[in-house]
Symmetry: C2
Subunit: 238 residues, 2 copies
Amino acid sequence: MADDVSLRIPKPDASVTELVVTKVREAITSGALVAGQKLTEREMMERTGVSRTSVREALRHLQALGLVEPAPGRGLIIPALDREAIEHIYEVREAIEPTAVRLFTVRATDEEIERYAELVFGKRPSGTEVAPEAWPEAWRRNLDADRLVLEVVGNPHFSRLMEPLYARIQQLRGLSAASHERARAATAEMESVVAAIRARQPRKAEKASRRHIEAARASVLRVVDEHEQKAAGLPGRF
Amino acid sequence: MADDVSLRIPKPDASVTELVVTKVREAITSGALVAGQKLTEREMMERTGVSRTSVREALRHLQALGLVEPAPGRGLIIPALDREAIEHIYEVREAIEPTAVRLFTVRATDEEIERYAELVFGKRPSGTEVAPEAWPEAWRRNLDADRLVLEVVGNPHFSRLMEPLYARIQQLRGLSAASHERARAATAEMESVVAAIRARQPRKAEKASRRHIEAARASVLRVVDEHEQKAAGLPGRF
């Protein structure tokens, strides 16, 4: 037998498990699964059509990512993003993203910068607004833009920190951007970021990125406060 | 049997493993183990006096932390901190530490601020220099100061990122501060940081912290360049 014939035994369940993890992540991102919702193995098996082994493995993975947690009683629950959890996520974004954007401004090729701009804005002309029905698609592109930045920056520590947080960041993106007013402001903020990156001005790009995150943070906390006032006594559903 | 009697079986090797991990970390920090050095199970058993099981477990843990890696041939090696690894560590410090110092400035009690100042400077009067024989002790206190900041800030994501990096940060601290000139400059930089924290000026503290890390980074890279020029062809020993 030739030396280059792999003898590695494939794990048949590995990719199925990954698919379930991805599905649940996407369901949280899109709002199809909301905080406070319970997940049971049986229900997951029915909804996904995969084996108990794969469901269990996927739930273990999701728990390690902090996307589900043990429920009071039995089973697992999508944890509410409470105020403290939200603050922690924004502290991480405030620390990492401006630094990453600065390094991206130095290290990216012109092509990578244009790819980034297209992910951030889509194919629409500068200054135009995203229609509400296209918001979820825009948030997904934003995540791809964040991942492109970290890929170009190439610092494995940043990626190791951010990867487990992305599903929660997507939840917050949905919260922070889901109003016309905020969507317009966010677009203007991101135009400053992209303009500084295109001009290859790393410090200016860093500052613009910091302003954007601070504005997003303020917007999310405003939404959370309104929620809490309206729904005092109800379990948090964000 | 009463319900509150624990039936949990203690793992007898767990703490021994932890001791070995700590010893090796400290040996790397102090320079007793240097980059390029090989570690074999047999030698580790002889030097530590613990079982093969514990040594293996400790080496697995150290490998997960990136403090040892598989050597060409057999066994494990202390990886050289090459230029890229050093840049990555400083990128993380530039991102996290100024943000953490800003949040510490807001959240710390007066007592925590004084504890921080004492960890940074020791008990010596402001402006006085640390004697070279006291440098390793000062670097250990600096690590405790960093940990105090993160503890007060209370963001679990920051701690999860930084904890595996501390042993390498200590190696770099040794490199960056090991000259009278740099030790003096670092002391002055840290006095600005502490003064801003004491004055409860978060943005000023953040900026002072950023200046300190940028200076430390420049100093380390200068040392690395000198090393590389002197020892071209020799394996890196930093």
